[in-house]
Symmetry: C2
Subunit: 353 residues, 2 copies
DNA sequence: CTGTTAGCGCCTTCAC
DNA sequence: GTGAAGGCGCTAACAG
């Protein structure tokens, strides 16, 4: 990453509408194309002198290797696919940034696939990886794709290095980067219990989701440790979205004997729920305490500010990208990484009076 | 070469360890490779019979064209670069989704570049496009990269089709997809004025930003139409972030003669500002009305819910992608598209009592 | 309508 | 340390 300077005009003399090729550089440096190639890939195997001439010629021509040709030859794309269920979900953006940063530093580009719950898209991206457009993939959607029912004719190229991020894929033997959802949920539940809350509602994630399963386990763990009974009637279904929070709030306010605290398994739901609770004339935290999960940017500025579990989103992205790069470069990669979460205490949860 | 080497694996028998090539399909279908290629690209120029045989052979082999080879030959990548200033900003996610959808339908992939204010990255992506890794680009960052200032003969080199989205680039002769920021800001200002507010503060975007320039003009337009004087003391600097809103709030509450309404030029700032205002013991909207801009998801569930300008983010993304695809496929493309905004009236703004 | 031929630009043995 | 040459897989050009 050296040249930034000469974007100027090598075109005063000629109509250089065409990009320089390795041949042009070779001719100008008076070496063979092989030497140019080596000067770029393995400079130590080229004499200092030749290297200098090549450098100069590259600078003069503004040569940039053609990636398609390079890929065709070397079977490497220096591209990584990031698969996520919903690009518009604010939870992912900081993770993406962490991924992008780390990939960028290692010279990889990032292609994003927003699955959007569409099997068609999933098939498309499966074909995409099969076609060798990417060297590896980071999966945020909790499952592998391209599992054809009978495997007939499915090419073996599908097996590129993969990393699971956030939503673990236990069945797959790939690096798993995540937080300890169960422990975090347990911790929050105990926090609420320690403040005197005995009737604690739980707003869930989507049924079957692995995060949901773990957080739900954690919720029950927390109750148990606090010697509180688990009451299924206090579980309200959700799916991590703002809208689910709004709906959960409606269910909540309609209840005759309301819980004194609600543990929402995403901040988005917590914020949506508080909205409904306010509209119903109740107050948070005076009438009901509300806790979230994720610590998105808006958690700190919500009204009241949200007590929640902090997830190191950027670091999660970075860790996943690092693990994948290790894999891609043949280095041993961590099998499983669990990053630490924090309980962030703000104003939406208060002791039961 | 250090791969798992199966050099002489007979490639029959249903499952090949190696991806099928066009030759394999050709042989199986008993046609030439050219016919296979045509059957894929221009089926109408291939006899029904041959087409059927090719289809069958493709199915049997699981053939997927090698994109690198295709790109090398045809000089088309079917990839589009999306350049944006900050991936972690929630404002962009829905726009990205709109872009992705439309690109996907047209068979294009999306590569995202998060500039993150880094000139180094910008140089990198300039080289990226120069290297021909993408067919076109959508720019959300308000300026071209890798281009010299003179509008004369320079752009011959890395000129791929471009589209400017949201932040217009007036100097560039490319399709511009945007909203009428000036009109929208004027409308909001007049709305506040119509409710009796006479001292209206304005929390700005980053200095020099084109959105900021237009919205600021709109703010002044609105004051003028409402016969209100423009008072520079009521302008608070910001940069569209939550944090800027928090800081603006601090400035606001410290003022001796406070305005009765604040127009924040992003929802994120409005939400951050309300946070500070609450912490200072004031009430929104009773003590001060607050308006936003963008209508992000959290605007509707903020407390109080936010009166703001709705931007059709998804449609903006779709329109930009469509315009770019037109360009890429040699069709005439719209020069400038301005999508409609809406004034969304919620609870954060009330008439002056 | 179909086949043959010739590269796209690069990397990488294989010789020297 | 360097050069010559073949070919990665595909499609465009040109015949037939």
């Amino acid at each position: 990453m050296d040249d930034i300077g000469q974007k100027d005009e090598p075109e005063q003399s000629g109509f250089s509408a065409r990009a320089a090729r390795i041949q042009d550089v070779a001719k100008l440096a008076d070496v063979s194309t092989a030497t140019v190639s080596r000067a770029l890939a393995t400079p130590e195997r080229v004499s200092l002198e030749a290297r200098a001439r090549v450098q100069e010629a590259i600078a003069k021509t503004g040569y940039v290797p053609n990636p398609a040709a390079r890929t065709l030859r070397s079977q490497k794309t220096y591209m990584v696919l990031v698969v996520l269920p919903d690009l518009a979900n604010t939870f992912f953006s900081k993770i993406l940034r962490g991924i992008e940063e780390t990939l960028f530093e290692a010279g990889y580009g990032m292609i994003i696939s927003d699955l959007d719950g569409s099997p068609e898209k999933e098939a498309h991206f499966a074909a995409f990886t099969a076609a060798g457009r990417v060297d590896g993939a980071i999966l945020l959607n909790g499952h592998l794709f391209g599992q054809s029912r009978d495997g007939e004719g499915s090419p073996a190229r599908l097996s590129i290095p993969l990393v699971a991020l956030c939503e673990a894929i236990p069945s797959a033997d790939i690096p798993q980067i995540e937080i300890d959802n169960r422990a975090a949920a347990s911790r929050m539940t105990q926090h609420l219990a320690a403040l005197g809350h005995k009737r604690i509602a739980y707003v869930s994630g989507p049924a079957g989701n692995i995060l949901e399963r773990e957080r739900f386990q954690g919720f029950k763990d927390g109750l148990e440790r606090a010697d509180l009974p688990y009451d299924p009637a206090l579980v309200i279904p959700g799916d991590y979205t703002i809208e689910a929070g709004v709906r959960a709030g409606q269910i909540l306010v309609a209840q005759t004997t309301r819980p004194t605290a609600v543990f929402c398994t995403s901040d988005q739901m917590a914020i949506g729920l508080m909205r409904t609770v306010f509209s119903a004339g109740l107050k948070v935290p005076d009438d009901i305490s509300v806790a979230g999960f994720d610590d998105i940017e808006f958690a700190a500025v919500a009204e009241p500010s949200l007590t929640t579990i902090h997830q190191p989103r950027r670091e999660l992205g970075q860790a996943a990208a690092s693990a994948l790069i290790d894999l891609l470069q043949g280095r041993p990669s961590p099998k499983r990484i669990r990053l630490e979460t924090d309980l962030v205490i703000r104003d939406s949860v208060v002791p039961l009076r």
